[in-house]
C-alpha cells in the first residue's frame, strides 16, 4: 500500500478531486452593477459568472445614464457568503465596472419585476382568472373571447404565486423581465 492508500494497479481514486466539501449556507443576494455602456461589457459580466461557476437567478440590464454612458445591471445570485464576497470582488475589479452595490446587505431595498401571463380558457376558468388578477392587481393588456394577457408587477415571489394560481386556469405563456432593484431612502 502506498502512503496515499491507493493500492498500486487498483486505483479508482481520482487524484484530481480537490474540492473542499465543507459547504456553508446558501444566500440570495441582489447586486447592482454600474458599468460603461459599451459593447461586450454585458458579455464580460455574464462570462465571469459562467466561467467561475457562479449562479445567475435573474439578470436585467439597460442604459440608465445616456450622457454618462452608463448601464445598470441588476443580478440576483446565490452562493455561500464567501462566494458572494468573491463575486463582488471579481465584479469590482473588472475594468468597465464603476460600482458594485449589494442591495441585500446595504440596507432595505425595493425589488420589482414585471411579467406578462397569457391565460386561455372559457367559462368558470376565465372568470376565476379575472377575479384572481384583480386581487393581484394585474392589468389586462390584451383580451380575446378565449384569452387574456395579464400584466403584473411585484416581487419575484408575488409573480411566482400568481403563476401558480394561473397554471390550472389555462396558463399558456409567461414573459418575465427579471428583477430591477433600488435601495430605499437616499
Amino acid at each position: 500500500m502506498s502512503p496515499l492508500n491507493i493500492k498500486k494497479g487498483s486505483t479508482s481514486h481520482s487524484a484530481y478531486d480537490l474540492r473542499d466539501p465543507h459547504a456553508e449556507v446558501i444566500e440570495v443576494h441582489t447586486l447592482a452593477v454600474l458599468v460603461d455602456n459599451e459593447s461586450g461589457v454585458l458579455a464580460r459580466v455574464i462570462g465571469l459568472f459562467s466561467g467561475r461557476g457562479y449562479n445567475i437567478e435573474s439578470l436585467t440590464v439597460a442604459e440608465v445614464d445616456r450622457t454618462g454612458h452608463r448601464s445598470r445591471i441588476t443580478v440576483v445570485t446565490t452562493g455561500t457568503p464567501q462566494v458572494i464576497d468573491q463575486i463582488k470582488a471579481q465584479l469590482s475589479r473588472m475594468v468597465p465596472v464603476h460600482e458594485v452595490h449589494d442591495l441585500t446587505v446595504d440596507g432595505p431595498a425595493v425589488q420589482r419585476e414585471l411579467a406578462l401571463f397569457k391565460v386561455a380558457g372559457k367559462g368558470e376558468h376565465r372568470i376565476e382568472a379575472l377575479r384572481l388578477a384583480e386581487i393581484f392587481r394585474a392589468n389586462v393588456v390584451d383580451s380575446t373571447l378565449e384569452s387574456f394577457v395579464f400584466e403584473i408587477t411585484g416581487t419575484p415571489e408575488k409573480i411566482d404565486a400568481f403563476g401558480d394560481l394561473m397554471r390550472p386556469l389555462g396558463l399558456r405563456e409567461i414573459a418575465r423581465t427579471g428583477v430591477a432593484a433600488l435601495a430605499r431612502g437616499v
Binding site: A15, D36, G40, A43, G47, R93, H98
Partner: protein
C-alpha cells in the same frame, strides 16, 4: 503644415505612433492580410524593431519573456482569424501569471464583420475570458485613445494582457491622433495604498509573532524593484524566515540568510513545514494557489494570516485571512516598515530563536538530496553543475513545464527579481523557448538559458528559426529523459504505474536538428563530460541546443500529492513505499 494637420494620420500609422509614445522598442509579430497596413508602417520607420516569429503563440510568449525580464509591457502583433486564435494560449498564460501585455490583432473590415469573411474570427469574443480587457475598435478616431487606455490597463493594478482588435478599414482610414498625455483612458484606477488600520494590525502581528513566516509571490516581482528592496529590508530587520512561490523566486536572494527555499507541491520540506507550523503567516503578493495550499482544510491550521495583494478578489478567495491589505506591495511594505520602526522595531527574539532551531531540524533533513550516479546524468546533478558554472554571470533562466521546471526551481538560485521566467499558473509546455528569445532580445549581452524538457521543447521548437534570424544566442538546455516525466511520475504514484502515453518516442536527433537550424548542437550523456559540455554551451557565440540525456525514471521530490496537507509530504522514493506514515506522524 499646421499642427492640427500634422496630427491627422491613418489608423495604421497611429498604431506605430502610439507604440513609440509608450516607449515600445520591440514588437513580436507575424503578418497577414488583416494587418498589412500596420506592417507597411513598420517598414517605413526604424524606432521600433519587429521580431518575426514562426508561430503567434511564440510571439506572445516572447512578449511575456520580454515583459517579465524588463518590467515593461510586452507587445505582440498578429493577424485576424488564425493569427488571433494562435495567440490565445499566450494570453491565458499571461492572465494567469499577471504579465502586462498589449496584443494587437487585425480584423476583417468593419463592413464584413459577421459575414464569416475570410479569416474572420470573433476575436474579442474568444479572448474575453483570457484578457484583462479587450476592445474592438470600429472607428479610427477612437483608436489612439484605446491604445493609450490599453497600456494603462495592462500595467496598472494587477498587471495582465489586453488585446485590441483593429479592422482593416480602421487601419486605412484617417483621423486625429491623440497623444498619451491628453488621452481619455477611462476611470480604471486601482488603489495602491494600504489601509492604515490594517497595516497597524499587521505590525502588531509582527511584534508578537512566535513562529512567523513570510510567504511571498509574483506580486513582489510585479510591483517593481522597490518592492524587492523593501522586502529584503523587512526580512533582515525582523529576522523572520521567508519562503516564496515559484513565481516570486529572486525577490529575496537565494543566498539570503533567512531564505527557506521555494514552497508548494514540489517545494522544500523546511518551507512547507514552516508554513504548516507557523503562528503568523504574512502573504506578500501571492494568491494561495492550490499548488501552495494542498488540502485547504488543513492548510496552516494554527496561524493568523495577513495578505497583501493589489487585487481585492485574491483576498479570501481560497484562504480566509485576519488581516487583508489591498494595495501595491511596495507601497504597503514601505508603510509597514515605517510603522514597525516607529513603534520600536519590536519582535519576540526569544521565540524566534526557538522557531529557527525548529527550522534548523527540518533543514537537516536535506530534502533535496538524491542518489548520485557516476553512470547516468541525474537531472538534479545537471542543474547543480549548471548553477555552479553560471553563478555570478549576468544570467536569465526560463523553463518549460514538467519535472525539469521543478528541479530548476529547486536547484538554481536567484539573487535578483526578473531573472526567472516560468509558466506558473497555466503551466504551458512550449513557453520556455520563445520566452527565452524574448528575454534575450531585451538583454542582448546576457546569458539566457531555457531549462527544458524534451517534450515541452518540441511544442514550440520552430522558434529556433527566430533565434537564428535575430541572432538571439539563447541556450536550450534540454533535460532529455525521453519521457513526459511529470506525467510519468503521477502515473507511477497515483495511477498504479500504468504509463499511458507518457513517453517521448521518435524524438529527433537534437544535434542534427541544431545543425539544420544552423546553430550549435551538443549532446552529453556521461556525467564526466558534463562540465566541459556546459562550458562549451556558455562560450559558444550563438544559439545552442544542448541535448542532456538524463536518468529516465527519476522522480521529483519533495512532493505533496494533490489534495494532501503540507505535513504529508513525500520526501523520496522510500516514502512512496509507505515510510511517510511513521515519519509524518512526528511532524508538527
Amino acid at each position: 503644415m499646421s499642427k492640427a494637420q500634422s496630427r491627422q494620420m491613418t489608423g495604421a500609422r497611429m498604431v506605430v505612433q502610439a507604440l513609440k509614445d509608450h516607449g515600445v522598442d520591440v514588437v513580436f509579430g507575424y503578418p497577414g492580410g488583416a494587418v498589412l497596413p500596420i506592417y507597411d508602417e513598420i517598414f517605413q520607420q526604424n524606432d521600433i524593431r519587429h521580431i518575426l516569429v514562426r508561430h503567434e503563440q511564440g510571439a506572445v510568449h516572447m512578449a511575456e519573456g520580454y515583459a517579465r525580464s524588463t518590467g515593461k509591457p510586452g507587445v505582440a502583433l498578429v493577424t485576424s482569424g488564425p493569427g488571433a486564435t494562435n495567440a490565445v494560449t499566450g494570453l491565458t498564460d499571461a492572465l494567469m501569471d499577471s504579465i502586462p501585455l498589449v496584443v494587437l490583432s487585425g480584423q476583417v473590415p468593419t463592413f464584413m464583420i459577421g459575414t464569416d469573411g475570410f479569416q474572420e474570427a470573433d476575436t474579442v469574443g474568444i479572448t474575453r475570458p483570457c484578457t484583462k480587457m479587450n476592445w474592438l475598435v470600429k472607428d479610427t478616431s477612437k483608436l489612439s485613445d484605446t491604445i493609450h487606455q490599453a497600456f494603462h490597463v495592462a500595467t496598472q493594478g494587477r498587471p495582465g494582457p489586453v488585446l485590441i482588435d483593429i479592422p482593416k478599414d480602421v487601419q486605412f482610414a484617417t483621423a486625429d491622433y491623440t497623444p498619451p498625455e491628453s488621452a481619455r483612458i477611462g476611470h480604471y484606477q486601482p488603489r495602491t495604498k494600504g489601509d492604515p488600520e490594517m497595516i497597524e494590525a499587521l505590525v502588531e502581528m509582527i511584534e508578537t509573532a512566535e513562529r512567523p513566516v513570510f510567504y511571498t509571490g509574483g506580486g513582489v516581482v510585479n510591483s517593481g524593484p522597490a518592492a524587492s528592496r523593501l522586502l529584503r529590508e523587512l526580512v533582515e530587520a525582523t529576522g523572520f524566515p521567508i519562503t516564496s512561490t515559484l513565481m516570486g523566486l529572486g525577490a529575496y536572494p537565494a543566498s539570503g540568510k533567512h531564505w527557506l527555499g521555494m514552497l508548494g507541491m514540489h517545494g522544500l520540506y523546511e518551507a512547507n513545514l514552516a508554513m504548516h507550523g507557523c503562528d503568523v503567516m504574512i502573504n506578500v503578493g501571492a494568491r494561495f494557489d492550490d499548488r501552495i495550499t494542498g488540502r485547504v482544510k488543513d492548510f496552516s491550521p494554527h496561524s493568523r494570516k495577513a495578505h497583501i495583494d493589489i487585487d481585492p478578489s485574491s483576498i479570501n478567495k481560497v484562504i480566509r485571512v485576519e488581516v487583508p491589505i489591498v494595495g501595491d506591495v511596495s507601497s504597503v511594505l514601505e508603510d509597514v516598515l515605517e510603522r514597525w520602526v516607529a513603534r520600536g522595531r519590536k519582535v519576540n527574539r526569544e521565540a524566534l530563536a526557538k522557531w529557527w532551531a525548529k527550522i534548523g531540524e527540518w533543514k537537516a533533513v536535506k530534502c533535496l538530496s538524491y542518489k548520485p550516479s557516476t553512470k547516468t546524468i541525474k537531472p538534479q546533478y545537471a542543474l547543480e553543475r549548471l548553477e555552479a558554472l553560471t553563478k555570478g554571470m549576468d544570467r536569465y533562466i526560463t523553463t518549460e513545464v514538467g519535472q525539469h521546471q521543478m528541479w530548476a526551481a529547486q536547484f538554481l538560485g536567484f539573487e535578483e527579481p526578473n531573472r526567472w521566467m516560468t509558466s506558473g499558473g497555466l503551466g504551458t509546455m512550449g513557453y520556455g523557448l520563445p520566452a527565452s528569445i524574448g528575454v534575450q532580445i531585451a538583454h542582448p549581452e546576457a546569458l539566457v538559458i531555457n531549462v527544458a524538457g524534451e517534450a515541452s521543447w518540441l511544442m514550440n521548437m520552430q522558434e529556433m528559426g527566430t533565434a537564428m534570424q535575430f541572432r538571439a544566442p539563447v541556450k536550450q538546455f534540454i533535460l532529455n529523459n525521453e519521457r513526459l516525466g511529470m506525467v510519468r511520475q503521477w502515473q507511477e504514484l497515483l495511477h498504479g504505474e500504468r504509463y499511458s502515453h507518457s513517453w517521448s518516442e521518435s524524438l529527433p536527433d537534437f544535434v542534427k536538428l541544431a545543425e539544420a537550424f544552423g546553430c550549435k548542437g551538443i549532446k552529453c550523456s556521461d556525467p564526466k563530460d558534463l562540465d566541459d559540455a556546459i562550458m562549451e554551451m556558455i562560450r559558444y557565440d550563438g544559439p545552442v541546443i544542448f541535448d542532456c540525456l538524463v536518468e529516465k525514471h527519476e522522480n521529483c521530490f519533495p512532493m505533496i500529492p494533490s489534495g494532501k496537507p503540507h505535513n504529508e509530504m513525500l520526501l523520496g522514493e522510500a516514502d512512496t513505499q509507505g515510510v511517510i506514515g511513521a515519519k509524518g506522524a512526528v511532524l508538527v
